[in-house]
Symmetry: C2
Subunit: 334 residues, 2 copies
DNA sequence: GCAAGTCATGGTATCGATACCATGGCTCGG
DNA sequence: CCGAGCCATGGTATCGATACCATGACTTGC
């Protein structure tokens, strides 16, 4: 341990201020427990020395890391961007920080990332991935760390969940097309074995078209959003030329389908109605004016932060499943 | 500290395997220094007990946290998504993890986040924000933590930088329009005082149109991408009805401008050429087929990971500025 | 006026891992 | 056959903060 001294320690501050180390700790964590004059002295010393408390040491001795691990299925397509933002903003207010991991829709990756993250002893784990390996479930249960699943309402939540019913959402947007007179409705999504959310939306679609013939195109996921939409619409029109509406599993996919429709000279929504999912920027009136289903990702993230911060060592947060709902936004494509 | 025992410790594993704790540590960190038989014994004990090493304690004693702090200007619009992804994937391979913070283009927020992050004693700090307060610079310098700035080539880098010249990029894409015969070129971007990257692209635009009249629309940043593009184009056409090309500071803004042009019955690219920036999914041939400037965000992130992992305690990474360049992608809008 | 209680503060053990140094067994060259 | 040198392993101090308990000064109620 003969490393050159690099960081100012709490002891240095204590010496400078002429107090005990514990008093410095209190000035930082629980200022009300220290008299005004002492507090000022200590704060002056902190400023003078440029002291930055070592959270690593604090975490070890207090057994609270003030870190939250977040495992997201994907960083692309901005799907979870606002959720992460809401979460991180909420946590920052209390000095908590976010550890980020990207599972890429792979349960195996999720399991390995979860294990690595638990090594940091986070105070909570947030998952936007919905498929967990048995090993991961065991690990997370045994760890005693609260686990919050987002963007879904799982049948058997690990602990808590905040989201909405993807099946109901898929059903709602499809029903909107049915109700506006569409008779031959198709569905486009990526072909991803571990994307349960997408599968649930598809099941909602199937329920809503009851009576109509299902027309589903699942395209290779490596095409990315727009590519999936464009290729998917091409496939649908080839197999079912008389299709008059398409439900896309995301706004990005809807963009691809929209552009493909333009290229084919189809009029939207006259010849073909189109819906997205998520209500991202590109769907707005200033953009494609896409009929879509709005998910308030920011609110989901903020709610998760609330939940985490409200749980304490003494009273861990109770198992809960919170339905944040969704909202149909009708714009120009339907 | 009378907390119930929750986690299996290295001592537990050592006892189970009948070895010293340090041997367990070596099995995890430097397996080659332990004999095969002992290694097997220890690994069996680890598996049996479900031991997850406490990185918090490891960080404290080894003075290496295996964490990298990343401060991004924004999580939205997926601008930095691939960079973060490249970074996190590269780091994961070595068991490093990512601490994420969102500065929202606010130098003050960046400074406060940087301070919080330094409390975790990260092994490196990665910034995609380009404006730093004086306090933040001082803090980062004093901390002795390598700082890597991304997506730019700063004149006075804090330490290392990986990116490209935003001014040259703005100039290149504008020059492309000049060379393809456009005579009255406008520029649309957000009105963000602390977005130096955008300002540099604008300065490149100004340099490239030399001789032409500058036509710049900077719209309120809270409109978001597509809104900025749509409102920006409207403003440009009102003030300069004969505009024949528009340089947009991002692909998302170009989408808004594109849709606005459609609504006005303008033909792209005949009446109006349009360019974006970033080459995100929506710009692809399957999407808008947008002429744009490709930035390889993933490569930038991956390179940053390499750089961080190559630096050791003994030989900290040398100050470097790496130009990753950019690529003009000509598609259907010019 | 005194016991009981509150407030501000400090001392010391401790969290769980790793660094440093030490040790015993073994190989190998002369 | 012996000492130099390597390999595998262990003991102990330590990283920098916080928890717990203790202490002395001062307030308050009856």
């Amino acid at each position: 341990m003969a490393l050159e001294k690099k960081w100012v320690t709490m002891g240095d501050v204590a010496r400078e201020a002429g107090v005990g180390t514990i008093t410095v700790s209190r000035v930082i964590r629980t200022p009300t427990k220290v008299s005004q004059t002492t507090r000022d002295k200590v704060q002056a010393a902190i400023a003078k020395l440029g002291y930055v408390p070592d959270e690593t040491a604090g975490a070890l001795s207090s057994q609270r890391s003030r870190m939250v691990g977040a495992l997201v299925s994907t960083l692309e397509a901005s799907i979870f961007a606002s959720t992460i933002e809401g979460l991180s903003t909420g946590l920052r207010a209390e000095g908590y920080q976010l550890l980020l991991g990207n599972t890429e829709y792979e349960p195996e990756t999720e399991a390995s990332l979860a294990a690595t993250m638990l090594g940091r002893r986070p105070d909570a784990l947030v998952l936007t991935s919905d498929q967990h390996t048995e090993a991961a479930r065991t690990l997370m249960n045994r760890a005693g760390v609260p686990v919050i699943e987002l963007w879904e309402l799982p049948e058997s939540p690990i602990h808590a969940a905040i989201g909405f019913s993807n099946a109901a959402a898929g059903e709602a947007i499809t029903r909107h097309l049915v109700e506006t007179g569409r008779k031959r409705i198709a569905f486009i999504g990526p072909d991803r074995a571990n994307d349960r959310r997408g599968q649930l939306r598809q099941s909602g679609y199937l329920r809503a078209i009851a009576g109509q013939e299902p027309r589903v195109a699942l395209m290779p996921a490596d095409l990315k959003g727009a590519g999936i939409g464009a290729a998917g619409l091409a496939q649908i029109l080839e197999r079912y030329p008389d299709t008059d509406a398409v439900v896309c599993v995301s706004d990005a996919i809807a963009l691809g389908a929209y552009c493909e429709a333009m290229r084919r000279g189809l009029s939207v929504p006259r010849d073909l109605a189109l819906t997205g999912f998520g209500d991202f920027d590109l769907a707005s009136d200033a953009g494609l004016a896409l009929t879509t289903l709005r998910i308030d990702g920011h609110a989901i993230g903020a709610k998760a932060a609330d939940l985490i911060l409200s749980g304490t060592k003494a009273a861990p947060l109770p198992p809960t499943v919170i339905d944040m709902g969704f909202e149909l936004i009708r714009r120009g494509t339907s």
